[in-house]
Symmetry: C2
Subunit: 569 residues, 2 copies
Amino acid sequence: MRVTRTEVRRGAYADSIVLMRLQAALAELPGIDDAGVVMGTRANLDILRAGGLEPDEPDAIRGDDLVVVVAAADEERAAAAVGRIDELLKSRGPSSDDEIHARSLRQALRRLPDARWALISTPGRRAARVAREALERGLHVFLYSDNVPLAEEVGLKRAAAAAGRLVLGPDCGTAIIGGVGLGFANRVRRGPVGLVCASGTGLQAIASRVHELGSGVSQGIGTGGRDLHREVGAATALQGLDLLARDPETRVIALASKPPDPTVSAGLLGRAAELGKPVVVHLSGRPSPLPRIGSLHFARSLEETAEIAVRLAGDPQPAGHPGAAGGSTEGDTPRPDGARRYLRGLFAGGTLALEALHGLGPLLSPLVSNLAAPGVEAIRDPTDSRGHTLLDLGADDLTVGRLHPMIDPRLRIERLEREARDPEVAVILLDVVLGQGAEADPAATLGPVVARATADDGPAVVALVLGTDEDPQDRAATVERLTDAGAWVTHSLAEAVARAAALCTRPAAAPGEPVDLEALAPGFAAVNIGLPSFHEDLLSRGVSSVHVDWRPPAGGDERLLAILEKMRS
Amino acid sequence: MRVTRTEVRRGAYADSIVLMRLQAALAELPGIDDAGVVMGTRANLDILRAGGLEPDEPDAIRGDDLVVVVAAADEERAAAAVGRIDELLKSRGPSSDDEIHARSLRQALRRLPDARWALISTPGRRAARVAREALERGLHVFLYSDNVPLAEEVGLKRAAAAAGRLVLGPDCGTAIIGGVGLGFANRVRRGPVGLVCASGTGLQAIASRVHELGSGVSQGIGTGGRDLHREVGAATALQGLDLLARDPETRVIALASKPPDPTVSAGLLGRAAELGKPVVVHLSGRPSPLPRIGSLHFARSLEETAEIAVRLAGDPQPAGHPGAAGGSTEGDTPRPDGARRYLRGLFAGGTLALEALHGLGPLLSPLVSNLAAPGVEAIRDPTDSRGHTLLDLGADDLTVGRLHPMIDPRLRIERLEREARDPEVAVILLDVVLGQGAEADPAATLGPVVARATADDGPAVVALVLGTDEDPQDRAATVERLTDAGAWVTHSLAEAVARAAALCTRPAAAPGEPVDLEALAPGFAAVNIGLPSFHEDLLSRGVSSVHVDWRPPAGGDERLLAILEKMRS
């Protein structure tokens, strides 16, 4: 019999990562089926209920209460789990050294008066207020929080601009400032390439590739995903370009975003064109047919953005093939066999998922996704797959009450195991994003799952490992363990997508009888019916041609024509 | 006083090009204000009326009557013009040599029994019937006619496939078969690059560039614009790929289309991937972020399609810069001055217009067009321009009752003169498509207009001259005359668009106060508010950090918080 037990801590605020880690730790205790840990808002209690974790006395719970519900095999184990909450909370919290701890921003600045940056990751509803206080105290702001209202973003950025300060974000996942990664960031060499990116995984992908190619990053300025919206007007991106134009260490600038508002784009690229430094531009999902306009160079992918930037910076590129990690990328082009014919893409990085989707769009059909792209069908239920399905597992509707899959692998592992059991699946495509902030050892959790999935003629697994050899996760070991588990591993999104597509592409057959090659042989003769000029052109090229003086049959009389047609048949 | 005079020839059928040429010739006679020449359908009579050319006794006119209405300064001149109709008709018709003339397809085949191809350009409503007869007689069909119903296209292509025959079209503007151009085609060297294109100007652009790069074209198989629609299922493109795979002269295949139906695309590219020859793929307006999948190579523009194909064919590329024609493409990046700030693009080639539009989309705003592209506003009235406007002048609604601008320059010249008078126009962007079928001497008509437009600090004119040095028009002289007239001339679409964009791009300014570079200097200190892990990451990178134990103010009580905020302000 399954029992649940509820524990409520009055007014005990904890942020979402702490909550999620506590929840994961409780769920791993012996005899525990499931655990939910939330702040006690109505919405959160509904999420608990939806997961079968009905809290006791819900009407007594307030929004600032910490609520724990565990489901266990028996009362004893439930009680044991609840009894370990404090210990688990403590082990996950920061050290309590008073020197590096404060109860307020004011107190923090008394302890660290020369602080120049504030990193803010409080819940979105409150984050703008905290950011405004930081600006008022003269700090630059890295604003990781999402769900900040657009109007507040506009106000914050206006205040920052007036004071000559930066607000990176809201919803800024990644930055690299003075050689130090903020938020989710890869460890990269310092060098001549400066980045301005409205996408966190976009910045990570470009920075990692720049490092991989032997060059380095001067600064990585994340702007937050909405900076290029009409209302915000690229306020942070323009500041970023201006800074990088003046920064003597930056020789080349890379500017990446999802397709921006057209007016904002026009002004921003106009500014980028006059900085006096080359700028590599990548608008994800909308590559330009022009390779270059003056000092603007257009790239079609995150990888190519890095490659062009490094080339323009004049840094030597290594002789090796940076994409190749585990698999061989030349020669063998695998083909789908019989029943196994579909792709399932399970992505943690949203921008990577979008780029993969745009690459697969013309190749696989029907292609289904929770991201929008031309030729791609919108998924109805993202917990279900059909045909070729590519998912951004970090999307809001898949992460309600859960950690982002870049931090917590459980959602993706469940999904991977389910897809591997589908006998129609030919290939499972994964991204594994390394770097600070990301899961500590993704190969340890993914490896055994991949090994089980690929065993006994299971589907292929193609893994894009994104990160650098300096990242905390030990990239080489990650690649080796995934390869040993049976995955085909690469550091190149293009190669991962190409490999996965080749495993599921199914050719159409030419219709009917083969056409004899004689059809195309030179020295043919022709009959021309219609425009006399075509006849004259044929004669002028030495082609024998007879021109038919075509007139509408039956003098153009449709009724008479219909009768004639009938008589003929 | 203006007088009109109507002449009706009962049952005298003539095709649209003959009608238009007669109309143009009449309009040039002395004292003639305007002339209309149409077949007498209700729709055509309405067009005459809309142009102020009211026919006499319209109720007596039938659909197969040839109707001429002239407007002149006086009765005498009107009568003189009408009196010259027969002479003008005769001078424009084909020679009446009986050996190369026939009254029916059957008769034509008696005169030329080894004919292998039929070129069909009769009006669309009847063209399918003619094409079916040609197929029944064992011919391959080049079907130039447009307005053939989709169901008839499906039926024709099914019949062709069953018989091992080709139907190129309907609405196939261009093909190159056995070294001979059909329809609108450029004269190009024979060589190793085989083309399969669902766009006429697309095929022209790729073929011309292949020639320009020193290589050549084995075959150019036009499929018609709808071949990659779902109903048609790429029937002709699949036959084309199959033929080129077997053709020993073809070493590399280029496959170009507007974005096709996703299912059709998937099957077609699947087939393309297994031909055993490299295939360069270009889906106009939707370039892939992947450079390559196995033997499929993805290009982002028509020019790049040719460049990749020539490289893969292993043909040497000339040392010169194929884009440069008249203008210098390096160094000077012109800037818009004061009032002159807008682009006006006046295109004859639809696929060229679309590619230019996709290139300009992120750079100019608001950008207005009668073609659809992301970030581009639909034009309300294509006879009017506002802001940055780019027009496909060959679009149906602009060519009702007129010849296509690739044949008849008058519509574009009128428009060019009007745009040049607009004091806000900075640059006029034109394509000049050469080759058989196109206007005989475009520089003769465009040159003086360009000279007048650019004189006296008028707008810049940027001209893309598309064609080869073997085309009938004398490309070098065309470039020279346009350059002498003041145009900046190139053979590269990318360069033309880049130049035009640079003349109108207007930069946004960074907002507020400049941020001090100190913001990005290494060795900074930070305050962390929110996720403890960010604080730990900072400490691990040697950054001084104080962590603030953030809690919701007022214990999360929104009412109390509002009161506190009020007291504070």
